[in-house]
Symmetry: C2
Subunit: 330 residues, 2 copies
Amino acid sequence: MKQLINVPETVVADALRGMAAAHPELTVDVENRVVVRGDAPVQDKVALISGGGSGHEPLHGGFVGYGMLDAACPGEVFTSPVPDQMVRAAAAVDSGAGVLFIVKNYTGDVLNFDMAADMAEDEGVAVAKVLVEDDVAVTDSTFTAGRRGTGATLFVEKMAGAAAQEGAPLERVEAVARKVAGSARSFGVALSACTTPAKGSPTFDLPPGELELGIGIHGEPGRERRAMMTSGEIADFAVDAVLDDLAPDGPVLALVNGMGGTPLLELYGFAAEVHRVLAERGVAATRTLVGNYVTSLDMAGASVTLCRADEELLRLWDAPVRTPGLRWGA
Amino acid sequence: MKQLINVPETVVADALRGMAAAHPELTVDVENRVVVRGDAPVQDKVALISGGGSGHEPLHGGFVGYGMLDAACPGEVFTSPVPDQMVRAAAAVDSGAGVLFIVKNYTGDVLNFDMAADMAEDEGVAVAKVLVEDDVAVTDSTFTAGRRGTGATLFVEKMAGAAAQEGAPLERVEAVARKVAGSARSFGVALSACTTPAKGSPTFDLPPGELELGIGIHGEPGRERRAMMTSGEIADFAVDAVLDDLAPDGPVLALVNGMGGTPLLELYGFAAEVHRVLAERGVAATRTLVGNYVTSLDMAGASVTLCRADEELLRLWDAPVRTPGLRWGA
């Protein structure tokens, strides 16, 4: 529960100063809280912009770069960014080919991105939007009407980003983003609560010996609490919850995502169990990404996101990407 | 303190099964606990082998691949691997150009790699060894005579790996490894203890409101305990401890490393403070890597490693690398 911070009020600004120091290839506007590709605007390329509350790093700032996002707008911890940030980002990255807003389904995010879209359009920017609402755990939750946006965001940002990098026009990039958002589902589990800088203590109580199934990425309540389960039992529950909803009829891409506080050693063990369950259900995982990508500060736990992978999406997934948090290919 | 595991006895094997599932480009021998580049042995290339207790992931298995390690030998959690693992790894990766063992300075690791070197040489493999002993916090500690081997291991594996990938012969790769090991120093801080699977509870007591300065990567005692400090105060202490010993007369490479349980948001904020201190001391950090690389399970905290960077080392650092845990370049 102790935190490596100065004061809660400067946590986001401090982190942005650190990103600026570590990643000279990015342009980080600390004051206005916008992280931009250093080479933006990229001529004739559709620009991708996402954002949301801080505390989920590397999402979204860590996904800014070649083949993924053009800009990210971080809010305060677990708090929506404001429309001015998105408008400023749009002005910085729009080459004239338009921008796509990638929005996780939280009421504040949706509202503020909507407002920003209107404002940017008033300034002559063509704006498309895609909503990510992949969490099958619950419908309507704290901060959310409908399903929450979680791990699928990474797939949307990666694959729509690849399409944009290849030169696809705005309608096509938007269509890819919608296709991915419609093809990916998630389920998360918490073994511990997270601690926000402002509160300084765990955001909810999770007694020793219990876990929460279907947790959101801010510690929103899930489906149920149970006595602690093994990694294998959790994988059974989480993968089945996703498969029940997704019903893939072919191979999938898998994200075995840590919530922040669970060691990589344990995440890889969990990935083995996720693969076992998928094999038992006759589902092939053609790609598996394991690590802390869509986190919830120091929460212990993990989520599973599966994305139906046809040839097009597999190609877009494999396309080169160069960001602080995700990087492969030529 | 709750863990995403099946039973403590299978944690390492489970993680290796997960690595095999997620990284088809690696050859993972789960039974014998050896992780090998899928294309090994690489013709005419010196092979790099490292290993150590598990619980520090992505070190070492996550650093196997093009431009870094050829093989890694994971022991039980916080327990040295056995000589048979290194001998088996050497047989799998030696192309005839010889192997370099990269050994963190822990008594068990040193002993077992020494024994393995003798055994491999008996089988006709040319073996060189380099010891990493970079932690300036204390001399002689739990498990260690002399200084502990910590974050500098990443620099040694990366830069010696780049030299080997370029085709340097064994003596040259060994010389690079020694040069890097002699050019890098570290200092770590714990805000919380870690929890090993076997124990299931924190390995030491760190009261609320206190931190441990100079911690090792297994929770070995550090220099002193103090009342909780800000990120900026910790950066002052850690960077000065490293600079006092390293006394760089030019630019450095910086690793701002998370111990596992500290969110990336906080690590970036800490990186900003590390840069501030370096700037105040007149030291330029030409490259800064921020993230969880040499971890201690779920311990909260961070370490700073600085490496003197002449032209040669900067070139080897920037050279392409493709591993699960570190990846950049063409």
